[in-house]
């Protein structure tokens, strides 16, 4: 009975040709799909082979990691010839972080760092009440707290013995430096330039002719000159215009220059976002009876800023790297501190190690900023992709 209903049994299908699956298949499809591609792949492999092993040898395998002075780097045992001298970087790490800050007061910078982290920490709890308001206050609070700690508050006359011993004596800004200065400038620049940039962007789109003309003038003026010129003017030309003897703190000049410069760029980025918001959104806001500030703050800007996150972060990364230009006005930011180390007679001849270290650290900072912006974009993704 059962045999009568035998049905058609297809043979099991053959496996795909061995050359199209697995590692081989992937290699064929992606690296060796044609003669030209195969040649390029081989060339790339050859270049990597020539570059990466020596780089690793220099950076890690042959590098000198422990020791006291240059003599440990100059006469290593035979197997480690020609490696990097990381002892120099280790010895100078305090210099890289604190610059010329007085040695006995460096705990104040550490304290500023710890406090900044503590102030920012609540923002990582997503359910915190008033999170946005707190965030805005925190962004303002951090540089103020840091600047107060950096500066100290008892301004003794230099003749007073406490001027060189008191734990809370003031430290003039010319002694601030290193990574701590870079972070401070970047923070103030980023925190201050975004609001100014938004105001400028709104101003530029304003229907009031004077407001819009002023904003356009400001943006075009600051965008039209290189930052190095701005800093140079502020440090070399400004003192000549001021009455003799009147001195305007150099760091302040640099901060104002960096902030206004970056604000002009951000204004254009934000304006791009505003233009992408359809007219209907503005009209809908008016139809709801919202006045101009409310319609901007509640309807337009949240959407516009979300669109331009990549552009904003791009500007911030640029600003972070541009802080190195304060070197031209005689301030020692992180890169400046590296250069100070390179000129230390005790460690002459290891400039490459210093610069490589700087490159690694700048990369870490900028890469984390860009990752954060991607995460932010994903979080704010509300689904209506254009």
């Amino acid at each position: 009975m059962s045999t009568a209903t035998a049905s058609f049994q297809p043979k099991p299908s053959l496996p795909p040709p061995a050359a199209t699956v697995g590692v081989v298949g992937w290699l064929r499809a992606n690296l060796f799909s044609s003669w030209a591609n195969a040649a390029l792949t081989l060339l790339a492999l050859y270049v990597l082979w020539k570059v990466i092993p020596p780089a690793i040898d220099w950076l890690i395998t042959n590098a000198i990691w422990t020791g006291e002075s240059t003599s440990d780097c100059k006469n290593p045992d035979e197997t480690r010839k020609g490696g990097a001298c990381w002892i120099y970087v280790q010895a100078w790490i305090p210099g890289y972080i604190y610059g010329l800050y007085p040695y006995d007061l460096r705990w104040r910078i550490d304290l500023a760092g710890v406090l900044s982290v503590l102030i920012m920490a609540p923002l990582f709890f997503k359910k915190m009440p008033y999170r946005a308001t707190y965030g805005m206050i925190a962004i303002i609070l951090v540089p103020i707290v840091a600047a107060l700690l950096f500066n100290g508050w008892y301004d003794f006359a230099p003749s007073d013995p406490r001027a060189s011993s008191h734990p809370w004596r003031t430290v003039e800004t010319s002694k601030w430096g290193g990574m701590s200065l870079t972070l401070l400038i970047a923070w103030v620049g980023i925190g201050a330039s975004l609001p100014i940039g938004i105001v400028l962007a709104l101003g530029r789109r304003s229907k009031m002719p004077i407001v819009s003309a002023l904003c356009v003038g400001f943006i075009e003026l600051w965008r039209g000159v290189p930052l190095i010129t701005v800093l140079f003017m502020s440090s070399v030309m400004l003192p000549l215009f001021l009455p003799e003897g009147v001195n305007f703190d150099k760091l302040m000049r640099a901060l104002i220059g960096v902030t206004l410069f970056s604000a002009a760029y951000l204004a254009e980025v934000v304006r791009g976002g505003l233009q992408a918001i359809p007219r209907g959104q503005f009209e809908a806001a008016s139809a709801l009876g919202l006045n101009y500030p409310k319609s901007m703050a509640l309807i337009v800007l949240p959407q516009a800023l979300k669109i331009v996150i990549p552009g904003i972060v791009n500007s911030f990364i640029g600003l972070f790297k541009d802080t190195t230009l304060v070197a031209v006005i005689g301030m020692f930011d992180f890169l400046g501190a590296i250069q100070l180390g390179n000129a230390d007679p005790k460690w002459l001849g290891y400039a490459v190690e210093g610069y490589v270290f700087a490159a690694i650290l700048y990369f870490i900072c900028c890469f984390s900023m860009s990752r954060y912006s991607l995460a932010l974009e994903r979080k704010l993704q509300t689904g209506h992709k254009r």
Partner: protein, 339 residues
């Protein structure tokens, strides 16, 4: 609200902006302020460079310290203002610094047109040559036909051209933007001769792969007299810097060192007595205490001590005294007497 960010951050920092009033009497201001503001190089090995702890040291820095010692009897009462090569003159003109001790060559235009007074020459520098030992070259006249590594757009390049042309020798220039690039090119054998100021040559030699395979030729082909400088208009202030420096040179000549200066106070030698303030009122003539020079020598040392500590043969910079030896030892350092 957000606008306040700027204002608040600004206000916090504006507190630190120091206002210094400037008048004719720099000394009175310096005394009132309680510290000397000294313009130095951003970092130049052996001349002005901070260590990882943030303490300034160097030959030029000692100049700043000696002025502070002469005025206050305290070498800590100096504010160092690191200046770039471009900034330095504005800083001095605008009164941001009281004087510059910053490897500045004394030239006629700077002394006249820019409105500065050079108060002395604390280091006689000049351009020199470095070659590989195996070339068997003993002096610069044997360098005909050589390829010379130099920095573009500097006086170094012009001096080389002058030197070779005036000696009717052929040469080839291999020029780079940065000193480190020039040195790397020399080290890799792209040229036979490396040239820069002699104060830099010895330090640069230590950066080479095998420093012992290179020699610095004895020839000096340009004059680079380096010294501290002040603004026109306050001669008394210039005198103080000048004599703080001369005190160090005189101390070397009279054999006074930081270690033996206390015993020297009892010396019967009238020159020593006058210098250390035991006789006469030489400090008062400068508007200072009579032990001004004692403080300089006690706290900074004499010229030789400062030289050997910062740039001498025992340091990585490794400079011989050469023309910077005392006149009594065949050099050019000569200080007028305290009388």
């Amino acid at each position: 609200m957000k606008k306040l960010t700027v204002l608040a951050a600004g206000a916090a920092l504006a507190i630190f902006a120091s206002g210094t009033a400037m008048a004719q009497q720099t000394l009175a201001q310096v005394k009132q302020r309680g510290q000397v503001i000294c313009g130095v190089s951003q970092s130049l090995p052996g001349f002005a460079n901070p260590d990882a702890q943030g303490n300034w040291a160097g030959f030029d820095v000692d100049m700043c310290k000696s002025v502070a010692a002469a005025i206050f009897g305290d070498t800590k009462r100096v504010k160092y203002v690191p200046t770039t090569a471009r900034e330095r003159f504005t800083a001095l003109q605008s009164g941001e610094v009281d004087f510059l001790a910053r490897n500045t060559t004394w030239t006629m235009s700077r002394d006249t047109q820019l409105g500065f007074d050079f108060v002395g020459i604390n280091f006689y520098d000049g351009q020199g040559f470095m070659v590989r030992k195996d070339l068997n070259v003993k002096n610069a006249k044997q360098l005909a036909g050589a390829a010379v590594c130099t920095q573009t757009g500097t006086t170094t390049e012009l001096n080389v051209a002058d030197f070779f042309r005036s000696n009717k020798m052929d040469y080839k220039v291999v020029a780079f933007e940065k000193n480190d690039e020039v040195l790397a090119a020399y080290d890799s054998g792209r040229c036979d001769v490396f040239t820069t100021d002699r104060s830099g040559l010895a330090a640069d030699r230590t950066k080479l792969k095998d420093p012992n395979a290179h020699i610095i030729l004895p020839d000096v082909i340009s004059k680079e007299p380096l010294g501290p400088l002040v603004r026109h208009g306050d001669n008394n202030w210039g005198d103080i810097i000048r004599w703080a420096f001369f005190a160090m040179v005189n101390a070397e000549e009279l054999g006074i060192t930081a270690a033996n200066v206390d015993q020297m106070l009892n010396s019967p030698n009238p020159e020593i007595k006058r210098l250390l303030g035991k006789e006469g009122d030489f400090g008062k003539m400068l508007g200072l205490e009579n032990n001004w020079a004692y403080n300089v020598i006690k706290m900074v040392g004499n010229y030789a001590e400062s030289y050997e500590r910062n740039v001498g043969t025992k340091t990585p910079i490794g400079l011989e005294r050469g023309v910077n030896a005392l006149w009594t030892a065949g050099g050019l350092q000569y200080a007028p007497p305290v009388r």
